[in-house]
């Protein structure tokens, strides 16, 4: 069963995607969602260097994609 989610892009991912969010359909886990989007947009960062958050909280890559949720891929941070 396919789920539709809003994906948020930040920093270099936003520059590469050319947008700060998009609606996407997915039927796997969050890891495979990132891999598909990486192939589509040519993201330089491999999944191992990112974290993933759903609805504003960090979650595991093997969590299923939940319909209607907001997914953010978090590149290595550089605040401070």
């Amino acid at each position: 069963m396919s789920a539709t989610v809003t994906v948020l892009y930040f920093a270099s991912l936003r520059d590469a995607a050319g947008r700060d969010r998009e609606e996407v359909a997915s039927d796997g886990d969050l890891g495979s969602l990132y891999d598909a989007l990486r192939a589509r947009h040519g993201f330089a960062l491999p999944r191992e260097r990112l974290r993933v958050a759903v609805d504003g909280a960090f979650v595991r890559w093997d969590a299923p994609v939940r319909d209607g949720s907001e997914v953010a891929f978090i590149p290595p941070v550089s605040g401070g």
Partner: protein, 141 residues
């Protein structure tokens, strides 16, 4: 009163420090990050910080709560700027009050390290040579 806050415009540290005044506190340590004119050997012209606001505020709040349980402090605050910053501008401020200086220094250092390592904020540097880039550092800095 939120202990961690993202600011999208310049902010003054005096009222933040005042929130930590407490007659039990004999020590106050603070840290500020300022926009430096060089990074990794390159001349920097200015920078931009971007945050995932919702998650940044949640993570920042968690870090300050954890500091209060790890260290014998009276309280702590942190504010991080986003948006365009010029050379010399204040990027981040941390303030800690404690009965004694060991805890004040220890917590202040721990908070800035944790914020830099975990809060979803990204720095985009513009260089004097016209180049610019997002910083996505490898592992612990």
């Amino acid at each position: 009163m939120r202990r961690f806050r993202i600011a999208d415009a310049p902010f003054d540290v005096a009222p933040l420090r005042a929130q930590l005044l407490d007659e039990r506190a004999g020590a106050y340590a603070s840290f500020e990050g300022w926009v430096r004119n060089h990074h990794a050997g390159r001349a920097v012209g200015g920078l931009r910080y971007e945050a995932y606001l919702e998650l940044a505020e949640r993570e920042g709040g968690r870090i300050l709560d954890e500091a209060r349980s790890r260290f014998a402090i009276t309280d702590a605050r942190c504010v991080h700027r986003v948006g365009d910053l010029a050379l010399g501008e204040l990027a981040v401020w941390v303030g800690v009050g404690a009965a004694h200086r060991d805890a004040a220094f220890g917590a202040c250092r721990w908070i800035i390290d944790e914020v830099k390592a975990h809060v979803p904020i990204w720095k985009h540097e513009r260089y004097a040579d016209g180049d610019a880039q997002w910083l996505h550092p490898d592992g612990p800095r």
